[in-house]
Subunit: 222 residues, 2 copies
């Protein structure tokens, strides 16, 4: 892990508030063109239904690119907020179960969540923890091949709590890894894990990507 610990940057509240305001404003402003791009993609898919597979693929790609852009905006907002959040014991299992249920309900996306019985809570920046887990699942939902399930496991491992998320992402898992954890500095996801005092690593298959997150166990049992 690179040495970019957050506590090297003591940041005043006013500074944070100002930067956060600029970023929030940018996010808000960018939603408009992004949503127009998405609408145009839907429109083109509809009127060009007979234009051939290549054209329809490009329209679907347009929509995926809009989703990716939205994810990047959320990611920057997470980056900005991680530093101000207090690290405390967080019920990761409960949060993941709720998110998986919502995801299954809303999108019929197949998600296989396996939580080891009695797994402890985890230490993490508490005020952004729910946002973080949602953000991480969204990434895999966005890049996973449609028919394939997301495989999520949460269990004890050598005194840590280990969260693994795996999906079949098609032929370029390295590209997606770079989006999730861009060199050299990482972004929202890595910053969150560093603030939590945990670690983030990846395992790449030929068409699959697995993110492995190790947390320090929290104060309470699940």
């Amino acid at each position: 892990m690179s040495g970019g610990r957050l506590d090297r940057f003591p940041v005043s509240d006013a500074a944070r508030a100002q930067a956060d305001r600029i970023l929030q404003h940018l996010s808000h402003e960018l939603r408009q063109p992004l949503s127009s791009i998405e609408s145009i993609a839907y429109y083109l898919e509809m009127v060009l239904a007979n234009a051939g597979e290549e054209v329809l693929d490009r329209c679907a790609e347009l929509r995926r690119l809009v989703e990716e852009s939205s994810w990047l905006l959320d990611n920057a907002s997470l980056s900005m907020r991680v530093g101000e959040a207090e690290v405390a014991s967080v019920p990761a299992a409960g949060i993941l179960e709720r998110l998986a249920a919502q995801m299954a309900l809303r999108e019929e996306r197949n998600i296989e969540l396996v939580v080891e019985p009695g797994v402890p809570e985890v230490m993490a920046p508490s005020s952004v923890a729910a946002q973080f887990f949602d953000h991480l699942l969204k990434f895999f939902r966005c890049v996973a091949q449609c028919a394939d399930p997301l495989r999520v496991t949460l269990r004890r491992e050598h005194g840590s709590v280990r969260l693994a998320i795996q999906a079949n992402v098609g032929p370029q898992p390295g590209e997606f890894r770079k989006t999730l954890d861009p060199p050299p500095c990482g972004n929202g996801v890595r910053r969150f894990m560093e603030a939590a005092g945990g670690s983030l690593s990846f395992e790449q298959g030929e068409e699959s990507l697995k993110a492995v997150l190790l947390f320090q166990p929290g104060e309470k049992p699940a």
Copy 2:
């Protein structure tokens, strides 16, 4: 003008550096999906040349939306940097002449720049001044109707230096005004003018938008 003077937010260098890094990173990351969207728009325009005007209009709109998104990214970066720039005497006339020449060269965009002889320099955040004028012209270039020129004038007025930029922007000038100076807080453009100790206002015609910027005269004659 709203009371959002920058000096209300004393911001440490470390904080600024951190926020700026997050934003720069976001801009860098977002360029990729945006440029892919632009490429797809070009591709669709090419293969769908016979698909009818409506479809081609939407493809052109896609490209405009990408341009708008890039502009919003630059705008946030300007917002973030205005605060750290020293206010000093800036050769606005020279900068505008250079930008207009570049614009004419690169794009055959018709720009009518009228600079009053002997107009003084202007007080402005100096390290971002060239970026600011470029950014402002880009906005008008992006929203102006193709065949129409941008009209830019720089002259003395009641002890100030007045810069006006006018373009025919089509039926919704109010929408473009909101992008350039969104309520309630404004963004890069307004923050720059506040830091400069100047003012920003607009004149709307039925299909035209004019931005009027008043600067304090700088220390040197042009």
